[in-house]
C-alpha cells in the first residue's frame, strides 16, 4: 500500500499523532533535540504564567513609585522584576479605575504578553471573544459577569503590532491591610486581560 502524499493535510490523523510524527522526523535528522522541546514545554508549564503578572500588579498596588514607573515605561518596570522574553518586547500597562475600563484582545491571531501572563487561555483564543469584544465590549464583559456602569469609559486594545498590553486592575476595597505577597495571590489572569475585576478574599 502506498500513501497518498499529495494531501499535506490529512484530517483523519489526530493532532497528537501528527505532533509525534513531526517530532520523529525532525529528531531523526538531528534538526531538533528532545531536551529543547522539553525545555520549551516546561518553561511555559511552570516558570512563565499569570503568577508573574500578579507580582507586577501587587507591587504596583503597594508601591506608588513603582506604579508610576510601570505606567510610564512598562517594559523597564516589568523587566526589573525579571520578566522579559518573547512576546513581551514592548510592554504597555493600562490602568483600570472606577471611570475607565481597559480590555485586551488580538483579533488577527492571539497575541498575548507571554512573560507576564504565560500562554493564552482558550477563551482568549476563541472566535467569539476575538470577533465580539471589539464591537460589543460591554456585552462581552456582562456575559462574563462584569457589569460596567454607563459612565465608565471602555477602551479595547487590539494587539496588532509587537506592543503587548497588561491591564493593571483596580485594587479591591477591603484589602488595605494585606501584604504584597498576599495581594498577588488575589490577582487573576482574567483581570489582567481586563475581562473581570479582582475580588477581595
Amino acid at each position: 500500500m502506498t500513501a497518498n502524499i499529495e494531501e499535506s493535510v490529512e484530517p483523519g490523523i489526530e493532532p497528537a499523532l501528527r505532533a509525534e510524527a513531526l517530532e520523529s522526523l525532525l529528531l531523526e535528522r538531528g534538526l531538533i533535540d528532545r531536551k529543547t522541546v522539553d525545555t520549551f514545554i516546561q518553561t511555559y508549564e511552570t516558570a512563565v504564567g499569570p503568577m508573574n503578572g500578579a507580582k507586577v500588579v501587587a507591587k504596583a498596588w503597594t508601591d506608588p513609585e513603582y506604579k508610576r514607573w510601570l505606567l510610564e515605561d512598562g517594559s523597564a518596570a516589568i523587566g526589573s522584576l525579571g520578566f522579559k522574553g518573547p512576546q513581551g518586547e514592548h510592554m504597555v500597562v493600562v490602568e483600570n479605575t472606577s471611570t475607565v475600563h481597559n480590555v485586551v484582545v488580538c483579533t488577527l491571531c492571539s497575541c498575548y504578553p507571554w512573560p507576564v501572563l504565560g500562554l493564552p487561555p482558550s477563551w482568549y483564543k476563541d472566535p467569539a471573544y476575538r470577533s465580539r469584544v471589539v464591537k460589543e465590549p460591554r456585552a462581552v464583559l456582562a456575559e462574563w459577569g462584569t457589569e460596567l456602569g454607563p459612565d465608565v469609559e471602555v477602551r479595547v486594545h487590539d494587539s496588532s503590532s509587537e506592543v503587548r498590553y497588561l491591564v493593571l486592575p483596580e485594587r479591591p476595597v477591603g484589602t488595605e491591610s494585606m501584604s504584597e505577597e498576599d495581594l498577588a495571590g488575589l490577582v487573576t489572569r482574567d483581570a489582567m486581560v481586563g475581562v473581570r475585576r479582582v475580588s477581595a478574599p
Binding site: I5, E10, L17, R18, L22, F40, P121, P127, K135, W144
Partner: protein, 222 residues
C-alpha cells in the same frame, strides 16, 4: 478581497456565545499541545522563517483546520513552514503518522532545503528607524482601505477609518514584507484610537478601540 478566517474582529459569523472562563486553565490542557507548541517554535527556527512568516503560515491553514483549535493550527503551520523551506517533503508527516500507526506506507525522501536568507537587523522585532515619524500624537489619521499583501496587521474592520494618534511606539520590523522574506523595512508604529461609532456605526456601544498601526497603514486625514 475575500474575507479570511483569521481576521475575526467584528464578524457576525463568529459572534456566538462566549466559552466559560476556567481561571485555573493550564498552559497545555492536553499533553500533545505542549509538543505542538514547542515544535512550531522550533519549525520556525529550523526552516529559517520569522515570526511574521509564522503568522502568515497560520493564516494559510485551511479554514476547517484553522477553526479546529489553536494548537491544531500551530501544528499545521509548522508543517507549512517546513514544506516552504524544503525541510520536509509534501506528505512526509502524514506518511510518518501512518507508519507510527502500524501501516506499511512509503515515506517521501527529504527535498533539497531552500531556506530564506532575509538579512536581519538583530534579534526580536524592535528597530531604530532613522527617519522622523510622519505623524504626531494628537493628529487625526485615516487608515488605508486596501491592503496589498495578504499578510497584514491592519484588520479589515479598521480599514478606511479615521482615528487619533495617542502614542508613538518603538519602530518595528514591517510584517507585510518580513512575512514574505522581502526585508525588514522597519517603520514607526503608532497607537491609534478609534471611536466605536466610526468603526461600527451610530448605534454602536459607546467605547474606543485602539490599534497599533505601522506608518504605511496611515495617511493624514483630509
Amino acid at each position: 478581497m475575500k474575507e479570511r478566517v483569521h481576521d475575526m474582529g467584528g464578524r457576525a459569523r463568529f459572534s456566538g456565545p462566549l466559552p466559560p472562563i476556567d481561571p485555573d486553565e493550564k498552559a497545555f490542557p492536553h499533553e500533545w499541545e505542549g509538543k505542538a507548541f514547542a515544535l512550531a517554535l522550533l519549525a520556525n527556527r529550523v526552516s529559517g522563517a520569522n515570526l511574521h512568516a509564522f503568522r502568515h503560515a497560520i493564516e494559510r491553514v485551511p479554514e476547517p483546520e484553522y477553526l479546529s483549535g489553536y494548537y491544531e493550527r500551530w501544528l499545521a503551520s509548522a508543517e507549512i513552514l517546513l514544506l516552504d523551506g524544503g525541510i520536509l517533503a509534501p506528505g512526509a508527516v502524514e506518511a510518518r503518522a501512518r507508519r507510527l500507526r502500524g501501516e506499511d506506507v512509503d515515506e517521501p525522501s527529504p527535498p533539497e532545503p531552500h531556506k530564506p536568507d532575509m538579512p536581519s537587523g538583530g534579534g526580536g522585532n524592535l528597530r531604530t528607524v532613522d527617519r522622523p515619524p510622519a505623524f504626531a500624537v494628537g493628529e487625526t489619521v485615516r487608515t488605508r482601505s486596501e491592503m496589498r499583501a495578504p499578510h497584514t496587521r491592519l484588520p479589515s474592520y479598521a480599514r478606511g477609518k479615521t482615528g487619533t494618534v495617542t502614542a508613538l511606539r518603538p519602530g518595528q520590523v514591517f510584517p507585510d514584507t518580513a512575512a514574505y522574506f522581502i526585508g525588514e523595512y522597519p517603520q514607526p508604529v503608532y497607537t491609534v484610537e478609534f471611536s466605536s461609532r466610526e468603526l461600527w456605526g451610530d448605534d454602536a456601544e459607546p467605547a474606543t478601540v485602539t490599534l497599533d498601526c505601522f506608518e504605511s497603514y496611515l495617511k493624514k486625514a483630509e
